[in-house]
Symmetry: C2
Subunit: 340 residues, 2 copies
């Protein structure tokens, strides 16, 4: 089977955004909107939102299951306070759960966390536990910068984050390192902030002993690892200059890259420098880039085509399209076994 | 000839750092150290600092001339106030001038600017004028984030920066977009902040009409363009989604990438996706990565080797190693003609 590890519910029914809009309007006028104020979303509305988008694209591209999370740019942890974030997070995660219940063969859930600038990550552990234990989710998206482009939190390797990591280890779920929208005008969200966060997180991991403290903690760095594979020589050299362990012997036990790189030469480079054991198929669809590449006549984000165009061995192909996702998301593997 | 567009004086005599240390110590105790308090640096000290480093590497690698600027990580525009920055900048630029005077065949100067958080870029125009008109410099390094990792300035495309651009256009000199050290613990300087700034600047340029306002303004985005070439499909796709002009028809008239990418697959990708007209040879030596790659037995930053290993046509080879640098730095071309 072909598992896409990186899909967001960017096409959710309008009622979700209406709740968010009323929540944000409330913030301005001092009314703390609750989810009960939201217009209910019917199953048919959910089906409609997916049939002509993610499901159609799965069929067209020949992929089977998408590891699915709320729209990343809409997490916007920087807006409002921790209660705002928690209510919005509940709404988004509950909707993902409904998607996964309606289409258990097509989607497995990954949750947004109720992060908020300054809020302790321990406070996200409860929602992670709810999503995994009660809703059957298989992982989470962790925002290394809840401030939305001001980077006011400690690095991901700081003990600040450890209570959340303890929960991740206890539940045996990975996190995708994924920022949200940027309220810093310097950073375009999908064109700069996303990619920068990927690169930043990798270098934080490279310079720390985090994985000595948490040997089984696993992170996916999305968007093909930001700038990292392109600068793989730089990172190998920096690790050496800084007297850090070889990347293959340390970081790559815990770090995985997805394949959200939207042209053949980029995917080719990724496969050339990163071991197949550390690459997980992903497309980010429906996501950051929605158009058709005039050079190929195909969707930019149809990353399976780039992989299919390269001479992969059968074992490597299995790892990238299925095996690594099963390894990194053991709860997905367990779920698939139950569904069989 | 072979022109390296990206070298920093990372090996300056210790007296330079002593001045800086005394300046920083003074800041703490309310004494505003001036350059006259610095230990003089002799010509022999300058020669010693270069002979066994940059000059030796030029000879060993077969390069001729380095476009040379003060140590980027030491610019540290976030430290102290505008006067601190101006004095330190004068010291650094004057030393580069002495290098270029002692070795006119080996080095051409690029200046640091006396930027400071909140200070108007217009205030950097005078030092740029001094360096170009009086010291014969051919360009400048422009820091898009004088705050050192907090990103508090407006984007490079904001009219905030226009007075400096007017001076650049008047003098016909380009800028390399180059941040300095980071005082934000999230960002490792050479492993994250540098690369992020490159990616960030490119996306700022992509989303703006800056080059309609300044058709002859030229920027070099160093470190191989950050993450941009690896994600070239993403950027082509974003430009299309955002109804921006095709990258080749707009941005690439004004934007150039250096070749500071420290492994063969990265350089191969760069050459595959970016037109040869927009690539300028650079090595960043002696710089970010100083070790020898155990996989090749050669210095990571000997980027000429990677280019030499690839099948470049003679015209492309000329552009990358010489022609583009002459085009982007017309004052270098004029200087070389005078020296002949």
């Amino acid at each position: 089977m072909i598992i896409d590890c990186h899909g967001h519910y960017t096409t959710a029914p309008a009622a979700l955004q209406q709740f968010r809009d009323s929540q944000l309007a409330g913030l301005k006028s001092g009314v703390d909107a609750t989810l009960s104020s939201a217009t209910p979303i019917s199953d048919d509305q959910i089906r409609d939102s997916l049939e002509n988008a993610q499901l159609k694209l799965q069929r067209a591209r020949g992929t089977d299951l998408t590891i699915f999370s709320p729209r990343a740019s809409a997490m916007a942890h920087h807006i409002g306070n921790e209660t705002t974030s928690l209510r919005w997070t509940h709404a988004c995660n509950d909707l993902i759960h409904r998607v996964c219940t309606l289409y258990p063969d097509n989607f497995a859930g990954v949750c947004q966390l109720p992060q908020s600038p300054g809020a302790p990550p321990a406070n996200s552990a409860a929602e992670l536990g709810r999503c995994v234990n009660e809703l059957g989710f298989v992982g989470c998206n962790l925002n290394p910068d809840p401030s939305g482009g001001h980077w006011t939190s400690p690095p991901l390797t700081d003990p600040h984050w450890y209570p959340l990591y303890e929960k991740m280890v206890e539940l045996d779920v990975p996190a995708m390192v994924h920022v949200s929208s940027s309220c810093n005008p310097n950073f375009h969200a999908t064109g700069a902030h996303y990619i920068n966060a990927d690169t930043t997180a990798f270098m934080q991991f490279l310079t720390s002993d985090l994985f000595k403290d948490f040997p089984t903690l696993r992170f996916i760095i999305p968007h093909g690892g930001g700038a990292v594979p392109y600068h793989w020589g730089r990172y190998r050299g920096l690790a050496q200059d800084l007297k850090r362990p070889l990347l293959g012997e340390y970081l790559l036990k815990n770090i995985f890259f997805d394949t959200c790189v939207y042209h053949l030469p980029g995917i080719e480079l990724l496969l050339k420098v990163i071991p197949a054991d550390n690459i997980i198929f992903g497309s980010e669809m429906v996501g950051a880039v929605r158009g058709i590449d005039p050079q190929t006549g195909q969707f930019f984000d149809d990353t399976k085509r780039y992989l299919d165009a390269l001479p992969l061995s059968d074992p490597d192909r299995y790892k990238i399209f299925e095996g690594n996702a099963r390894k990194v998301f053991p709860r997905l593997t367990a779920r698939l076994a139950r569904q069989r």
